[in-house]
């Protein structure tokens, strides 16, 4: 019984999935039509024959995708997917699960798009770990929203105040993220009430990004995000000016 319900939900989702894929393949077929297929002439230079055109393989791929999405749509409609596709229950929508996924998507978006390029990696990594463990360990909706708000404020501020690369070295966004991280850490520790996981969050949140970024920068000598970040810039300075001369000299 449960298996057949799962199957109906899947076919209803397939209905939307197939429509999305059809739209996508039509869009890319149109884009492919802009690539010369029959020996187009570009800047006075004659292009290749059809069989060597850069469009031939993508044409086949997107045409194939279109055909397969039509088949999927047919399968879905035959299995009653179209009927269930218009109701929330039909596609298996769960409000709590939707909220969980949406908040996580926002946290990851603000982390990658807002914080990683602009804010010190130790601070952004620490804030992310704190937000994710605090927000999702117990599965409480309130905590998920607080975690998303903390990451959202830090990420949105960095994105809006320093949209261009020239402003990425500024430290006001680092300070705001650090304040939010410390605030959330105190909040989570105060509410730990015997929960061992909540008490170890600060330790994990500090050690993980710190070890990773220093190992990557000084061990593997690789590029790391935001080298001019509030904390990392100090570490880098003291590594080269204070520490390294000790074994170099």
């Amino acid at each position: 019984m449960a298996q057949s319900a799962d199957k109906s939900v899947m076919r209803a989702r397939d209905f939307w999935g197939a429509l999305g894929l059809m739209a996508l393949s039509v869009f890319f077929l149109w884009r492919t039509s802009q690539i010369p297929l029959f020996g187009g002439n570009r800047a006075g230079v004659s292009g290749a024959d059809w069989y060597n055109s850069a469009a031939i393989v993508p044409l086949g791929i997107f045409a194939g995708l279109f055909v397969l999405s039509c088949v999927l749509l047919t399968i879905s409609i035959r299995a009653g997917g179209a009927a269930g596709a218009l109701s929330a229950a039909g596609i298996g929508w769960d409000h709590r699960e939707g909220l969980r996924i949406a908040t996580l998507a926002l946290i990851l978006f603000f982390y990658i798009a807002g914080l990683v390029p602009r804010v010190d990696f130790i601070i952004s990594g620490g804030l992310l770990i704190t937000c994710l463990i605090f927000g999702y360990h117990r599965g409480l909706t309130g905590r998920m929203l607080i975690a998303t708000a903390a990451m959202g404020v830090a990420g949105a501020y960095a994105l809006m105040m320093h949209p261009d690369r020239a402003g990425w070295r500024a430290h006001d966004d680092d300070i705001l993220a650090l304040v939010l991280w410390i605030g959330l850490t105190f909040w989570s520790t105060a509410r730990a009430r015997g929960d061992r996981i909540m008490r170890v969050i600060p330790l994990i949140a500090v050690i993980t990004p710190l070890v990773l970024v220093t190992a990557m920068a000084f061990g593997f000598r690789q590029n790391v995000p935001n080298r001019g970040g509030l904390i990392f810039a100090q570490i880098e300075y003291h590594y080269y000016v204070t520490l390294r001369p000790l074994w170099r000299d």
Binding site: G47, I56, V57, I112, L128, H137, T208, F220
Partner: protein
């Protein structure tokens, strides 16, 4: 015969060179240990272990050491999945799903120590069987592959994507094919390989070089895992380990036929392009159930059942490396991540690969399996403690690892945007039960398919018969067509009727 002796001598030299290098042990022990941890933690997979380590070691240390780290993690992670299967009844990786069927009942019956010891031994022997097959068959296939030209390469790439789509689909087979086509479509982004025509770059210069493999792998495998795993979940009760782990020699001898059979099956399944360790485990379990005298006891705590799946999934590793090294077509999702590591080191797996690399890979596999065996037997209790760590604690750490690993491969912040975009799409696809392996294999093989397909047409002046007139191409074309036709309902009904007549 001379050739075999030369290969064995070459393998021996590679093994001695590795054994004599102290750095080998540092990379080997740490990567196998890390691999077992990744495998043992439900929510982390072998593919993720190899992908994340590709981000870290792929192009930052010499290729030899990178291969030690990646293969060590691969071997360790496939084996590590057996811990939660046996003690928690939750497979640590998809490859160990069949292991839970008999492992957990054995642990409940107070035979957890015996089950773990035998699993460790079987995984060790299985890996060696796979490596032996790699050592022998890779040379035979390399000789054959010298005659493979563009038409065969194009059809082989297509076959890999189609086969992976067919066998890795949980729901409809068509979803596997769609995932493969999406992967192929992603590979079309950037400058085309023959005419340098820009395709689908939308004015973003970063896309001129196409989708980079590592961010795509991280997006496809890590991000969905993190989104899916970050939920409240009580860690199940870890059963107390009873009995000694060190296996009894007599018992091993008794189960040697099962181990050998499963090792051969696992290697064979692994050698199929794009088919992973989970399929190997289930196929071997299914065969074991039908041929073993103990078949009726499968699922109720049978050692035969346990060893059938556990040997096969580790033997699959060696098998999966055969098409990767000989043809440049990954045999499993973790092998696809390994291919990413080869690519960022400018090593192109395939008929032109340096034979010394193959010998080194085989030598590393032997050492990695030995390390896994020793760690498994003597530090099992450490890994059991790790089972108690909830997903909500280690997944955020994985996200930070993924970010810095993906960033430092070369593309910087743009790689992270790509990773996140692919990750969100991959999560949606997971929700609709589209398999990820064909997508990743499509991304990896897309460039090869595009180039060889068009080159075939170029040398034949656009004559499509070039794909049917060469013997090798004709066989591969037939396989592709047969694979597609086999999924048509009226053909399936016809086969079912035929089967009914003969039984």
């Amino acid at each position: 015969m001379d050739m075999l002796v030369t290969q064995l001598a070459g393998f021996w030299d590679a093994l001695l060179a590795l054994v004599a290098d102290p750095l080998t042990y540092i990379y080997l022990i740490s990567s196998v240990f890390l691999g077992i941890i990744f495998g043992a933690l439900p929510g982390l997979t072998a593919t993720l272990a190899v992908t994340i380590l590709t981000g870290f070691f792929g192009n930052k240390i010499p290729l030899d050491y990178a291969l030690i780290a990646l293969l060590g993690a691969y071997v360790g992670a496939i084996y590590g999945g057996s811990y939660p299967s046996i003690l928690l009844n939750i497979p640590g990786t998809a490859a160990s799903a069949a292991t839970a069927m008999d492992g957990y009942p054995l642990a409940r019956a107070g035979r957890g120590g015996e089950a773990l010891g035998l699993t460790t031994t079987a995984s060790f022997i299985g890996t060696l069987i796979g490596t032996l097959a790699l050592l022998v068959f890779v040379w035979l296939l390399l000789l054959i592959s010298k005659n493979i030209a563009s038409p065969e390469k194009a059809l082989l790439a297509l076959f890999g994507i189609l086969l992976s789509g067919t066998l890795m689909s949980e729901d409809l087979v068509i979803k596997g094919w769609i995932a493969g086509l999406i992967g192929l479509a992603m590979a079309m982004v950037g400058l085309d390989p023959l005419l340098s025509e820009p395709r689908y770059t939308f004015g973003w210069s970063y896309l001129l070089s196409g989708f980079q493999v590592v961010p795509v792998l991280m997006g496809a495998f890590a991000v969905p895992q993190i989104i899916d795993g970050l939920r409240h979940m009580e860690v199940g009760e870890v059963l107390k380990l009873q009995g000694r782990i060190l296996p009894n020699l007599g018992t091993i001898r008794r189960y040697l036929p099962t181990i050998t059979r499963s090792g051969v099956i696992g290697t064979g399944v692994g050698a199929l392009p794009g088919v992973g360790e989970d399929v190997a485990g289930w196929v071997s379990y299914g065969v074991g159930k039908s041929v073993s005298p103990d078949g009726a006891q499968f699922g109720k705590g049978s050692l035969d059942g346990l060893l059938s799946s556990e040997t096969a999934n580790n033997a699959c590793i060696g098998g999966a490396l055969i098409p990767l090294l000989v043809l440049g077509i990954p045999g499993s999702p973790p092998a696809a991540a390994l291919m990413g590591a080869f690519k960022i080191n400018n090593v192109i797996p395939g008929p032109t690969i340096d034979p010394a690399i193959i010998l080194r890979v085989a030598a590393i596999m032997v050492l990695a399996s030995l390390t896994m065996f020793i760690l498994g037997l003597f530090t099992a209790r450490v890994f059991i403690r790790i089972l108690r760590i909830p997903q909500t604690v280690f997944l955020p750490v994985v996200m930070v690892l993924t970010t810095i690993g993906s960033f430092s491969v070369g593309g910087g912040i743009n790689d992270l945007y790509l990773m996140l975009g692919v990750g969100f799409v991959a999560y949606l696809m997971n929700l609709m039960k589209y398999p990820m392996a064909p997508l990743v294999i499509g991304v990896i093989l897309g460039g090869l398919f595009d180039e060889t397909f068009r080159r075939s047409l170029l040398i034949s002046n656009g004559d499509l018969l070039v794909f049917a007139t060469r013997p090798g191409a004709a066989i591969l074309l037939s396989l592709n067509v047969a694979l597609i036709l086999s999924q048509f309902p009226f053909i399936q009904r016809g086969f079912a009727r035929l089967k009914g007549k003969f039984t």
